[in-house]
């Protein structure tokens, strides 16, 4: 299940943004773009987490995604599903906080749902992501409005599904809006829930990092549309 991506599998930009199928190189680009975004925003994530959590979200996420980046740098698994499962496994083993099993489950279940095809359609990705998000909800026992990462992920998946999987930009915007809308909510899950009403007025760190994941998806898509044969990977 892990072979090198060959050159001809890398040129998936021909159909242009919004229509083309997605290959392993695209998923590796998505994960690398997420690592970039997490590294860039780590201080902000930690700052948000210091308000209502234990001030480790930025550092934990950075550690996890840098480990994932290093692994993908050695070898990109052959299929989209394998890329996500590899990164998910890496996150569980390296993050060290609750985000590890939560993001790990999100990516592993999404990857599993993508199956073993070398390319997947955008619609398949929307469906798989929906399964991944559902698994996160089940693992954490959380629902919409509990002030968690799900408040960014649910609307993002809905936006993607509504567009038949085509509109990654709408998913990005929905996730960002969802994250912002956690500000007035009272936390009902995780460490922030210990704060009760005092959790109101702060944006949820997990929803914020989930919005980064969706923004990275849109960014990877734009990069793909812009440059055919572009091997991606902003180092």
């Amino acid at each position: 299940m892990s072979g090198k991506v060959t050159n001809d599998a890398g040129g998936s930009g021909e159909g242009g943004e919004g229509t083309s199928e997605l290959d392993a190189a695209f998923f590796a680009r998505w994960m690398t773009a997420t690592a970039d975004a997490v590294a860039r925003e780590a201080d902000r994530l930690t700052e948000l987490d210091s308000a209502i959590g234990d001030a480790d979200h930025g550092e934990n996420m950075r550690r996890g995604f840098e480990a994932a980046r290093a692994e993908l740098g050695e070898e990109i698994p052959a299929t989209p599903g394998a890329v996500l499962m590899t990164v998910g496994r890496k996150l569980v083993s390296t993050v060290g906080g609750a985000s590890g099993p939560l993001y790990g489950t999100l990516l592993r279940r999404t990857g599993k749902a993508l199956g073993s095809g070398e390319r997947v359609s955008r619609e398949e990705l929307a469906g798989a992501l929906s399964a991944g998000v559902e698994a996160v909800a089940q693992l954490g026992g959380a629902a919409a409005g509990d002030k968690t990462m799900l408040d960014a992920l649910f609307p993002a998946v809905e936006a993607m599904t509504d567009s038949g999987g085509k509109d990654f930009e709408a998913a990005r915007a929905a996730a960002e809006r969802g994250a912002e809308e956690t500000v007035p909510l009272q936390a009902r899950k995780g460490r922030a829930s210990y704060l009760g009403e005092r959790s109101v007025g702060h944006q949820d760190p997990g929803a914020t990092s989930a919005a980064l994941l969706m923004a990275a998806l849109a960014a990877a898509d734009t990069a793909q549309g812009a440059g055919p044969g572009d091997s991606g990977g902003s180092e």
Binding site: G96, A98, S99, P101, T105, A135, R191
Partner: protein
Amino acid sequence: MAEAKETKQVGIVLVSHSKEVADSVAQLAAGLAGVPDAPVAGAGGRPDGGLGTSEELIVEAARQVDQGAGVALLVDLGSAVLTVKALLADGDELPEPAQLVDAPLIEGSVAAVVTAAGGGDLAAVAAGAEEAYTYRKV
């Protein structure tokens, strides 16, 4: 080490955010239960020693205490709960059968070690540990 026993005992893994807490509670449980060689191990903190939860350390501890009769996992909170749940749901790395036990870490671990040493199976060990929630202190 498993073969030294006549009967296989249920293994017990204690997962805490802190290595010191996990290892000390393991020692405490074996001591209070009067079973110094009980198959109980701590899986605390991250591999680098920091506070957190590590899938790797949990799997390692589970394999270490597994004698073939199953492994009960007791946890402190937050990511410890989620990491074990994720391992049980997605991974194939834990010995079979393995079970997350809904119990207070310290009291539950003592009850678990006593039950396991008495030859209880995984269900009995889990029930014994869970019952620790009902021991009121005032």
